[in-house]
Amino acid sequence: MSITRNVGLMTALRYKGQGPMLTFILHRIGGMGMVIFISMHVLSSFLGGDVGRFLNDIYENWIFQIFIFFFVMFHATNGLRITILDLWPKLLEHQREAIWVEWAVFIALYGFALFSIISTALGG
């Protein structure tokens, strides 16, 4: 048995899922980003040498840290929202409110992280 897609790419791009769709997309991008980042990070630590040191220097860079902190922290907050709502399905009715709470928590925590990354980078 195989499953066929019945939605074309253009139709998919025109789909306007609003808030929940945005979290879904960011969750996917962040998840894939983490798999790629962590795999390369582990492999470069394992292999060492010039290439490994070059890659790990990129990861230590504050500009890179701003991106990876965004993806990791968003994936974590959004993942907690999904976990709580999925394990208590009655709460799914309040998904939109849950997403607002999630953004409030995420922006506060990410703001703190951003502040300390940038102030360390500027202060040396």
């Binding site: 066929t4 998840g31 894939m32 582990v42 840290q65 902190f69 999904i82 394990l87 399905p89 703190f112």
Partner: protein, 143 residues
Amino acid sequence: MSNRSRTLSLKERGLNFEMLMWIFTRLSALAMYGLFLVGLVGALWMGARYHMNFAEVLRWAFMSNYIHVQSTNIPSIDPWASAFWRLVASGLFLLGTAHGVHGMVVIADDYIVSSGGRKIVRLLSMIAMVSMSVIGVYVLWTY
């Protein structure tokens, strides 16, 4: 529309691999939160309040490897490189690998729909999971 939950009971749904991985993804997320909190509390216990900023503490809590705190102002690296922290990091890493590899399979399934292609995806994911687990744990315990 009635207010009754539309969720089927486990008996009606049946217990298959997808169902098991669905619940594993949620539970491993909670377990990783637990290990993250252990790392966070541990860092504060070891004096992070005086030697590290918020982002550095988070970086440590996400993966409690001592190399992640080498660039901070901590006076001694020894308590951060203990076997306990390597154990916490290994647990976090193995859970994260399984969680992440399954996540990649879920994403791939959205685009690769032939049953042959899906078999290849699963084979590759198993190879990736086993090799990454071995390499990651090796790196955590030997460096």
